[in-house]
């Protein structure tokens, strides 16, 4: 199991390590006081990447080659300048960072607000906009979910074939590519958005996908925590089956973690929909399916069951390669780890800043 956890928060990047069987926050955070919006421990070469969203001074990107001891600023993904007099876009948030395939050393992907997908072939030293996705006509229908602008929050690279990509957009549906992003197809058949007018509820280009997660060993199995509920794909994101009816105690949530080896197992952190977004009855729980969404088990051992109002954002639940160790952090600044597939949780800290992402590595 992985004994290091990176925790990206509203006020810095924390490293949490397990020593002698005990997890502890290791020293002061990197970027103390600054909002860290995304983190990527690149398992291919051990490099760490951290994206910041400096309130006044914009989006920044940093790289560490010594495990987070020192950081070097890189150029952040950015849109090209519009022709004179034009109203061009500007990156307002790096929402997610993803490593390319094992056969693509140095390749990184970045999902941003206002909906640009960026690619780097040189470990983040330079970035270019994926123009083909930016140019899909349906992008004009995308809208913001939680933010004013739409954003790309999930980037899945197929471990069998790194040319195959699946991305999730809030609110712009699921998109797939089979050619490293040279062209894109709109997936999401079977997703449904209850809050839209009935004639628009199955419009694929505006689906409110909260988060996608794929099974490493069976990457065609993708789980979607959607605004409306929980969906499962068996073909990498093109077609979906809704399993919302069996979810409990609620089908709403942001985060999902997929078991790396068992495609039928996934974890969710339920909350009351739509705008409420607090645990049901003040009891903070995780739900798990181990049968492909036919049934869900509520897991609460070690989690607060009275007057708890923790919410786990879409990137703040992670699972390590063992499939047994999970971590999650909340908007209330609590951090938990489980070594038992979610059966039992240990509180690591209740006093961190609001957590945007947790990542083993």
């Amino acid at each position: 199991m992985t004994d290091r956890l990176l925790v990206a928060t509203r006020k810095g990047l924390f490293t949490v390590v397990r020593k002698g069987g005990t997890w502890a926050v290791a020293g002061a955070p990197a970027f103390a006081g600054e909002p860290v919006s995304a983190i990527l421990p690149d398992g291919r070469d051990g490099t760490l990447y951290a994206a910041l969203n400096l309130g006044h001074f914009g989006v920044k990107l940093h790289r560490s080659e010594d495990g987070g001891q020192t950081w070097t600023e890189l150029p952040a993904p950015a849109f090209a300048a519009a022709p004179e007099g034009g109203e061009g876009p500007s990156v307002s948030l790096i929402w997610t960072l993803a490593a390319g395939g094992a056969d693509q050393p140095g390749t990184l992907w970045a999902g941003t607000l206002p909906g640009g997908l960026f690619h780097s072939a040189d470990r983040g030293s330079t970035w270019s906009l994926n123009q083909s996705l930016w140019d899909v006509p349906e992008r004009r229908e995308w809208f913001g979910g939680g933010y004013d602008e739409p954003g790309i929050h999930s980037i899945l690279v197929d471990p069998r074939d790194s040319a195959r990509l699946t991305i999730g957009v809030s609110c712009g549906g699921v998109w797939t590519s089979g050619d490293r992003g040279a062209s894109w197809a709109l997936g999401g058949h079977g997703l449904r958005n209850e809050y839209l007018p009935p004639e628009m509820s199955d419009q694929r280009s505006t689906q409110d996908v909260h988060r996608l997660a794929a099974c490493t060993a069976a990457p065609d199995r993708v789980w979607c925590q959607h605004h409306n509920g929980i969906f499962r794909s068996d073909d990498g994101g093109t077609n979906w089956t809704e399993v919302t009816a069996n979810a409990k105690p609620a089908a709403f949530g942001f985060a999902v973690a997929a078991h790396p080896a068992d495609p039928d197992t996934a974890w969710f952190v339920p909350a009351v929909k739509d705008e409420c977004r607090i645990p049901v009855d003040g009891r903070f729980v995780v739900s798990r399916t181990d049968d492909g969404g036919e049934s869900f088990e509520v897991l609460s051992d070690g989690l607060p069951q009275d007057a708890a109002y923790d919410l786990v954002y879409r990137h703040a639940l992670d699972i390590d390669a063992s499939g047994e160790r999970l971590a999650m952090g909340s908007t209330t600044g609590a951090l938990w780890v489980s070594d038992t597939g979610g059966e039992r949780w240990s509180l690591i800290s209740a006093h961190l800043p609001p957590v945007a992402q947790v990542a083993f590595g």
């Binding site: 400096l54 309130g55 006044h56 001074f57 914009g58 920044k60 600023e73 150029p75 952040a76 950015a78 849109f79 090209a80 300048a81 519009a82 109203e87 061009g88 876009p89 500007s90 990156v91």
Partner: protein, 89 residues
């Protein structure tokens, strides 16, 4: 030459000492600073070269009027101040 100085809060992120630079507009003066300190540009301007929403630039005691193109004129003895609006928690 106009003198450009920066809020101390920028120093948390990168070194940006006051500078005397050539330039007849705010844009030209800042471009001269960016020429020797290229990392500074993205801290003050967005992808389109517009002043970031929470960054303010004053010429002497006047806020710049043209936040998109920074075409406000500057004279040799003017001082350009770069601030930010502190807010939030």
């Amino acid at each position: 030459m106009p003198r450009v100085s920066f809020t101390a809060n920028l120093q948390r992120h990168l070194d940006c000492p006051p500078a005397e630079v050539a330039g007849r507009t705010v844009r030209a003066a800042l471009d001269a600073v960016f020429a020797v300190n290229p990392w500074l540009r993205s801290y003050l301007l967005d992808d389109q070269g517009r002043l970031r929403r929470h960054v303010n630039v004053f010429v002497n005691d006047r806020p710049v009027a043209d936040r998109a193109r920074l075409a406000d004129p500057v004279a040799d003895d003017d001082e350009i101040f770069v601030f930010q609006a502190l807010s939030g928690g």
